[in-house]
């Protein structure tokens, strides 16, 4: 209840919350709530009109964000918030579209959509809460789980290598890539505000605790244990080469803004297509 009261008492964001949906479903110590709060504060920080904002989520704990925000919000299918959001944005370029989901949803089942949206430089913001596992289904291994991490489906340790998300997104063509933990609330809020205003594809990885399942199996049984780990092991390196941002179990977490570049957005390129199509159709009629 402490978390719920804290959220409701925050006047700056309560206008963006569906009060009649609270308390939320997230476990004590979960990192998703703080990331959502940062996103809601970032709306004001970026001075955006709430009517223009769409939030699209997939399935999973982070996928529930769409249900708590008092904005036009869409809770879609597992892995598919990015293509759904792509349709929203392409059909109405005036919308400011944010995809809010988790690592399993966005990077495993939805991984193809993630890299293609970045490649297209589609003007949207993707906030990926990375808790290294599938929380809602009880803590199975995910595509960002560090090598050797214990999960309910890697009882002998994770035998796969994880994605380094900033590296993946930078290589795919994202215009803006940042990573922060939920210990870095100020930086996270600022990064989300920047991303919301940034033309093109913006990706923010927000690392957060999942004490009830992932944490319990990896010596971080309380949310505070994870925060202590972030405090001790986070290294702020703005502008770092994202290939150096891989995360090993209990190893350092490189945080910061890695990519902030200008590149023509998909919307800008499509406008050119319309101009060309109309020039051509003036000279050639019929079929």
């Amino acid at each position: 209840m402490l978390i719920t009261n804290t959220v409701v008492d925050d006047k700056s964001i309560e206008k963006y919350l569906r009060q009649d949906r609270l308390p939320h479903i997230w476990c004590p110590g979960c990192g998703i709530g703080p990331v959502m709060s940062c996103f809601l504060r970032a709306i004001d920080r970026a001075e955006l009109d709430a009517d223009s904002i769409c939030v699209v989520s997939g399935i999973g704990c982070s996928g529930r964000v769409a249900g708590y925000v008092k904005l036009d919000s869409f809770h879609t299918t597992h892995g598919r918030p990015i293509p759904f959001a792509s349709g929203l944005k392409l059909a109405n370029p005036k919308l400011n579209v944010t995809v809010f989901s988790g690592d399993g949803d966005l990077v495993a089942i939805g991984g193809n959509h993630l890299i293609h949206a970045a490649r297209r430089n589609l003007d949207m913001t993707v906030i990926c809460v990375n808790n290294f596992n599938y929380g809602m289904t009880g803590g199975q291994v995910g595509p960002t789980a560090p090598f050797d991490a214990r999960t309910t489906t890697t009882p002998y340790g994770n035998f796969e290598s994880p994605f380094n998300l900033p590296y993946l997104l930078a290589a795919s063509g994202a215009s803006y890539v940042a990573r922060w933990t939920v210990l870095h609330l100020r930086q996270l809020e600022k990064a989300i505000a920047e991303a919301l205003l940034k033309p093109g594809f913006s990706f923010i990885e927000a690392i957060g605790p999942c004490p009830v399942v992932y944490g319990r199996m990896n010596k971080e049984p309380e949310g505070l244990d994870s925060l202590r780990y972030y405090q001790e092991k986070s290294v702020i390196r703005n502008g770092a080469d994202p290939k150096d941002a891989g995360i090993e179990l209990n190893g350092p977490i490189v945080v910061g803004k890695f990519v902030d570049v200008e590149r023509p957005t998909l919307g800008e390129c499509l406008s050119q297509v319309t101009v060309r199509a109309k020039q051509k159709s003036k000279t050639k009629t019929g079929t």
């Binding site: 569906r18 009649d20 949906r21 709430a50 009517d51 223009s52 769409c54 699209v56 769409a66 249900g67 008092k70 904005l71 036009d72 919000s73 869409f74 809770h75 879609t76 299918t77 892995g79 598919r80 990015i82 293509p83 759904f84 959001a85 792509s86 349709g87 929203l88 944005k89 392409l90 059909a91 109405n92 005036k94 919308l95 193809n112 959509h113 293609h116 499509l270 297509v273 319309t274 060309r276 199509a277 109309k278 159709s281 009629t285 019929g286 079929t287």
Partner: protein, 383 residues
């Protein structure tokens, strides 16, 4: 052709192109798709035409992304379509279910080829007919139409958009490779935008708006993104507010309405065409390209003095069960030719019950029936 206007006139075009032109005439301004034989020409035509009319064409990374982008575009207030064939249709089915659950108007075109799996990519099939009905998990009703010529592709694509806007449901155009690839004369009339059906929009203020509060015809008015309604929609079972409710009661209320909005309006939705049925005691029941061969077979049978007739199913789902039940009072038998190992025949058999015999004339795909196939079945029914 001028800016922002559909083509008008007579054209010699194939069914895929006619479908694309029908969509433009219906006001479709968003298309997301993925290349697949034999549906690619729909996408190619849309990529040429949509930018001319201030619409958006996008080739997505797969068919799953395509249907999801179509749903998103519809929620941005733009009429949207995708086209595919069997393998892509399989990939789309989960999110057709999302379209049903969110009550999202959109049109999905399936230019059917022979399967299963990769099957015969360039050759005809009518093998996704039950997948159209039951492909997505869960209990639901859907609308599916079956065109039998390029002209029919044009006409039914407009009809599909009108039905999807009226009932807030994905509408499937279950065409096939022959109709998609054959070129015939297509007359494209001027389509008055006022004659098109547009989804009902909320008439109340955002504070009073409940996204899933249904009115008399069970179809709720639909807000679109960016207009200040701050609505929430979810694929989870939800109440009138659009909020998830994980109870059997909420499920019962929602699913009954989603099903009833189609079932109780079936007389408005269902269309079929009849040929020489007045005195027929043998009814050939066909759909899509097979109708054209079936009609020829019926004519041949009539020449032999056999009282045969044709029922062309234009709406496949919801199924024209009332008409088939009626016909089963007068008919001795139903002959059902289809390019599969038996799909729609089971629906006909259900409706005919024990009153009339039902005979399947199967064709496994790769070609259409020969008229003799169907004629033989008609003759055998006489004996």
């Amino acid at each position: 052709m001028t800016d922002n206007q559909a083509l008008v006139g007579e054209f010699f075009i194939n069914g895929d192109v006619a479908c694309a032109e029908g969509a433009i005439s219906a006001g479709c301004r968003f298309f997301a798709g993925y290349p697949i034989t034999p549906a690619t020409e729909v996408a190619e035509r849309m990529s040429l035409r949509l930018p001319q009319v201030d619409g958006t064409y996008i080739q997505m990374e797969d068919e799953i992304a395509s249907i999801c982008a179509v749903l998103g575009a519809s929620w941005a207030g733009v009429k949207a379509m995708t086209s595919t064939s069997g393998p892509g249709f399989s990939l789309m089915t989960e999110n057709i279910g999302l379209g049903v659950m969110l009550e999202t108007p959109c049109v999905v075109v399936d230019i059917q080829r022979a399967g299963p799996s990769t099957g015969l990519p360039t050759l005809v099939g009518q093998q996704d007919m039950m997948q159209a009905r039951w492909g997505s998990h869960g209990s639901y009703e859907i609308i599916a139409l079956s065109p039998s010529s390029p002209q029919h592709m044009f006409d039914l694509t407009i009809e599909a958009f009108n039905l999807s806007e009226k009932y807030r449901v994905p509408v499937l155009i279950m065409s096939d490779e022959v109709v998609g690839h054959m070129s015939e004369k297509v007359v494209i009339p001027y389509v008055d935008p006022d004659s098109l059906v547009e989804r009902r929009r909320p008439s109340v203020s955002p504070n009073e708006y409940l996204p899933y509060q249904a009115s008399d015809n069970l179809v709720p008015p639909m807000a679109i993104a960016g207009e200040g309604y701050h609505f929430h929609v979810t694929g989870l079972t939800h109440d009138e507010r659009g909020y998830p409710v994980m109870t059997a009661d909420a499920q019962d209320k929602l699913i009954r309405r989603l099903v009833d909005k189609i079932r109780l309006n079936k007389n408005d939705i269902i269309k079929y065409r009849e040929f020489q049925l007045e005195d027929a005691d043998i009814v050939v029941c066909a759909y899509g390209i097979t109708t054209r061969i079936a009609q020829f077979a019926v004519e041949l049978a009539r020449n032999d003095g056999i009282r045969a007739g044709l029922l062309q199913l234009i709406t496949i789902w919801p199924f024209a069960e009332d008409r088939i039940k009626e016909l089963s009072q007068q008919a001795k038998s139903f002959i059902v030719p289809e390019i599969n190992a038996g799909q729609i025949v089971f629906e006909v058999e259900r409706c005919a019950a024990d009153r009339a015999k039902t005979v399947l004339v199967p064709c496994m795909g790769g070609s259409v029936h020969s008229p003799e196939n169907i004629l033989t079945a008609i003759r055998e029914s006489v004996c």
